[in-house]
């Protein structure tokens, strides 16, 4: 069993899905011969043919709309949007149709599609290539939004997304595409959706995060450990619908919570988690919930991107603040 990266795990999951079901179709811009700009679909067209792995014209609204059409016919389309910065033309299709077809037709027509996109900053990419706007999708009833943060979860969650009978937006943290390797058994086993993953057990403070930020968050937890602070680290993984139970249980134990995400703070998914903590966990909170996030300004071009994104230092400072108070 080889050790593979996240991007390889994404590739492996799609290959497995293509292998297991003739209904799985992969498409998007440059996903064919080129294998995707990040190589997520590398080799898939060669192995599964141009009918099942194919390049589309350059049109994101079309990509989403076609995925919906295919899904309505019982296919399992897995469509790639090249970067999250180009996902906006899909919104009308996603919010008006993907999320509503089942509801609208009272279950007669369903929409088991996956819309994949690499997201997040930190790779010194050009303008518009570093977006984290998952909150927009997390606000849409009828959708699932899933974000893996390790090769194992990339494999297991993508398979789960493809098998899911409802539409899933699957966002891949591109900064950590090749950052770590894990042994991943290509056993076709999906991981559960709609639940958080516990990355680390601790008692003093709960750190809640997802995507590439799991990296900084775990680093912060390491450093804090050395200083005698024990962190519970939770990878939310499915940010819509939210598994608040796991988060609330953790905070009930620790009494403190720091939420870390790359996206702009205002109306980010961190707000929802913090709001639910305030609603359902107020009495267990010893200190105000802290959010360590991207700022409410345009994600700067790459010279300043590290000043925008949450750093290990910022996370540690926020943890210390929750420890100081109350």
């Amino acid at each position: 069993m080889a050790e593979i990266t996240i991007i390889e795990a994404v590739n492996l999951a799609m290959a497995r899905a293509l292998e297991n079901s003739p209904d799985v179709i992969i498409f998007g811009e440059d996903v064919g011969l080129n294998g995707g700009v990040f190589r997520a679909t590398d080799g898939l067209q060669q192995r599964y043919g141009t009918d099942r792995v194919l390049d589309t014209p350059l049109a994101e609204t079309l990509i989403a709309g076609m995925a919906i059409g295919m899904a309505s016919q019982g296919l399992r389309p897995v469509a790639e949007i090249q970067f999250m910065g180009f996902i906006y033309p899909t919104i009308e299709q996603m919010i008006c149709h993907a999320t509503r077809l089942r509801n609208r037709s009272r279950g007669r027509i369903t929409c088991p599609m996956v819309l994949r996109a690499p997201y997040g900053g930190g790779i010194h990419a050009p303008e518009h290539h570093s977006e984290s706007t998952e909150a927009i999708f997390a606000h849409m009833p009828g959708l699932r939004v899933v974000i893996p943060s390790s090769p194992l979860r990339a494999y297991g969650l993508l398979l789960a997304a493809i098998q899911d009978p409802d539409p899933v937006v699957f966002l891949e943290p591109k900064r950590i595409y090749r950052m770590m390797k894990q042994e991943v058994a290509d056993d076709g086993e999906a991981l559960p959706l709609d639940v958080c993953f516990q990355l680390r057990d601790g008692t003093d403070v709960t750190l809640v995060t997802w995507g590439a930020m799991t990296h900084e968050t775990l680093q912060a937890a390491d450093q804090l450990e050395a200083e005698g602070v024990s962190c519970d680290v939770i990878d939310v993984a499915t940010i819509k619908p939210l598994d608040m139970e796991t988060i609330l249980n953790s905070v009930a134990r620790t009494g403190r919570c720091v939420i870390v995400h790359e996206a702009a703070r205002t109306c980010g998914v961190g707000a929802e988690i913090a709001a639910q903590l305030a609603e359902h966990g107020l009495l267990s909170l010893f200190a105000p919930v802290q959010r360590v996030t991207g700022y409410d300004t345009i994600m700067p071009m790459f010279k300043l991107e590290n000043d925008y994104m949450p750093s290990t230092d910022r996370i540690i400072a926020a943890v210390k603040k929750t420890l100081e108070e109350a």
């Binding site: 295919m70 609208r104 279950g107 939210l242």
Partner: protein, 369 residues
């Protein structure tokens, strides 16, 4: 600029088909199907049925028994032509004026009424498993149509996906994205533009400087043609040909059906704000139902007895649908969660419980509505 330096590299023509003129006289060769009285009378019946429904639906809205409704008055030949040419296993992606096609495809009148009555169950289409529900966000169904057509092609099914949209809709980007991929992938797909000359208050000429809407097809490198949309024989004929091409693997077609929106945009609209009634009146002369009636009267012995019988049958059918609609008990409020996902996520259970509890409270107290 002289001619030498410019080389012509591509040439295109757009054609227009009319078979029955305004007076109901044949002006082109009769298509095979149209030799049969039965076939023509079937088209006639469905047009009358559609109009009978339409009149009643407007009345329901006007008397507060239904919400906003969009009339298909004057456009029956387009819709009936489409519906009559399609096979049951094809897929129709309609907008909100395709009753004529929908009824032929098994959608119940009571379902359409339920839909405009504000009830999702009006999109369940109990007897029509294939078709998409009415699409409200303009042109968004064209990319979906391409996806459906791709599924058919991939599976080698001899089926066709048909989307119908308005003249206004041809201005929206997704329309072009959809027809472009239909060309690029040679999909089994037909796109019908029902050019009824208006997009709410915006006349056709304000939408685009293109002299025909059929020529939008040229951008996608696919065949585009115009047809008299008030001539149901031509409409069905052109549609049959396009479906046959698509079904046989010869690719997509764009059809511009020229007709006229005789009613307000919807019952929420007041067209007198932006168009002269005299112009509308002129278009009455082009009425598709009258036109076919003249033809079948002249050529197939259609008479007043048959006409009266037909109107009675249609009226009875519509009345039955209205009763069914009015008698439908409202869905319990908590059902708003029941088709959101296949299985309700745990996170939403408490919301569903709340709605159920409040619904029961309300039922206990005042009545629903």
């Amino acid at each position: 600029m002289t001619n030498e330096e410019k080389k012509c590299v591509a040439q295109f023509e757009i054609h227009y088909t009319q078979l029955l003129n305004q007076q109901g006289e044949l002006v082109g060769p009769l298509p095979e199907f149209a030799a049969s009285a039965e076939a023509l009378i079937a088209l006639y019946r469905t047009m009358v049925q559609t109009r009978t429904f339409d009149t009643k639906a407007i009345a329901l809205q006007r008397t507060g028994k239904m919400g906003t409704y969009s009339s298909s008055l004057g456009q029956e030949a387009v819709s009936v032509g489409i519906g009559s040419a399609m096979r049951f296993e094809d897929v129709l992606l309609p907008t909100y004026r395709e009753y004529g096609a929908q009824f032929q495809r098994g959608v119940a009148m009571s379902e359409i009424l339920r839909y405009w009555g504000g009830d999702e169950r009006g999109m369940a289409y109990q007897h029509q498993p294939h078709d998409m529900p009415i699409t409200v966000p303009i042109a968004t169904h064209v990319p979906q149509c391409a996806g459906i057509a791709y599924a058919m092609k991939l599976r080698n099914e001899p089926r066709v996906a048909v989307s119908v949209l308005g003249d206004g809709a041809t201005s929206k980007g997704d329309f072009y994205e959809g027809i472009n991929v239909a060309g690029a992938w040679q999909l089994p797909m037909v796109v019908v533009v029902t050019n009824n000359q208006w997009a709410i208050s915006v006349p056709r000429d304000v939408q685009t400087h293109a002299q025909t809407l059929a020529q939008k097809a040229i951008a996608a490198g696919i065949p585009g043609e115009q047809v008299d949309g008030n001539d149901v024989i031509a409409m069905r004929h052109v549609m049959l040909n396009a479906l046959e091409r698509a079904r046989s693997g010869a690719g997509p077609t764009l059809i511009e059906a020229i007709t006229y929106r005789m009613h307000d945009h919807t019952t929420a609209d007041d067209a007198s704000r932006y168009r002269e009634q005299t112009v509308v009146d002129e278009h009455k002369l082009l009425d598709p139902i009258e036109r076919l009636k003249k033809y079948i009267t002249a050529h197939h012995n259609w008479d007043e007895t048959q006409e009266n019988e037909l109107h009675e049958t249609c009226a009875a059918e519509v009345e039955a649908a209205v009763s069914s609609y009015l008698e439908t008990p409202p869905a319990p409020p908590e059902t708003m969660f029941d088709h959101l996902y296949e299985t309700l996520p745990d996170a939403l259970q408490s919301q569903r419980d709340e709605v159920e509890r409040l619904g029961k409270q309300k039922q206990g107290g005042d009545d629903n509505g």
